[in-house]
């Protein structure tokens, strides 16, 4: 599954990284503690968070994540947008709160480390 498939099926707003939506999604991770995400996310994951500051791009880039999805309609800081474009990380927004968003992602076939 590609990032662009999720953009369409979940109605996500693309704020940055429009040219990187062909990235393959390997799974998902949710969390707002950056060190936790660094420790437990995997390459190609989509990351659901409510953090909006530029460091999320640094984490996503370092872990080679497929996309960041900001939950609850949160808008990224201007510096975050700039950095996401520079690093080629898709920055997406969902109006759904994190719990609902993760549920929809799971329904769409995006699983975590443990798939039921």
């Amino acid at each position: 599954m590609k990032v662009e498939t999720l953009v369409k099926s979940l109605g996500l707003r693309v704020k940055a990284g429009n040219d990187q939506l062909h990235q393959e999604v390997t799974g998902g991770y949710a969390g707002d503690l950056l060190s936790d995400v660094i420790a437990h996310s995997a390459r190609g994951n989509v990351w659901v968070t409510i953090q909006t500051h530029p460091n999320i791009v640094a984490v996503a880039s370092m872990k080679e994540l497929a996309a960041i999805i900001l939950a609850g309609g949160r808008e990224p800081d201007p510096e975050t947008l700039k950095k996401a474009e520079e690093e080629g990380i898709p920055l997406l927004i969902s109006l759904l709160p994190a719990f609902e968003l993760v549920g929809r992602l799971y329904q769409a076939g995006v699983t975590g480390i443990v798939s039921c």
Partner: protein, 188 residues
């Protein structure tokens, strides 16, 4: 002498400003870029990027300023970070996952989970942490480019003032350089 020997080792230093969250992660991004340009394996680059990011964030969150030095050898990469700041009361406690002294502001940004140092330990091959309270902290870590390496030599490639002979191998711990990856330097 072949080209590899001529190019390595080299080093680069970076200044880190405590409390400056805007440019946080920029040094680890640069380190990642340098290692990529040098053509190191992806897993080595990934591990060094993670450890450098956590080290950089520690200085930003807890110190006034710091200097991060990247040393690139053909067969291992090392980073040393010296900072001036509050220091760490108990380095062994600081290594415990979940232990944190972060304030509310740091936690709101998603830092201060108490996982930074343990993350560094997990992704690196050797790690040494020493600290003097009210003065600062010294952290160094290295990642082998090849899976197996004499860690004694890696920590001190020149072999200066070490009891061990790099040629004979042995772990750093055996040679008294580190103990459980952490050395308490408080009061020294």
């Amino acid at each position: 002498m072949d080209q590899t020997e001529e190019r390595y080792p080299f080093y680069k230093t970076f200044n880190i400003e405590g409390g400056n969250f805007i440019h946080a992660g920029s040094i680890s991004s640069q380190v990642k870029r340098i290692l990529k340009e040098e053509g190191f394996p992806n897993n080595v680059i990934r591990r060094m990027s993670i450890a450098t990011f956590e080290a950089e964030m520690n200085v930003i969150c807890y110190a006034r300023w710091g200097i991060l030095t990247l040393l690139v050898f053909s067969d291992f990469i090392k980073v040393a970070v010296n900072d001036e700041g509050a220091g760490i009361h108990d380095v062994n406690q600081a290594m415990i996952e979940g232990f944190s002294t972060a304030d509310e502001k740091i936690r709101e940004l998603g830092f201060g989970a108490g996982m930074g140092l343990s993350n560094i330990k997990k992704v690196t091959d050797e790690m040494v942490l020493t600290s003097v309270v009210s003065q600062g902290t010294h952290l160094e870590f290295m990642v082998n480019v090849n899976p197996v390496r004499n860690s004694c030599e890696a920590l001190n490639p020149a072999g200066i003032n070490l009891k061990c002979n790099p040629a004979t191998g042995g772990t750093a711990e055996q040679h008294g350089i580190i103990s459980n990856g952490v050395k308490d330097g408080a009061g020294k």
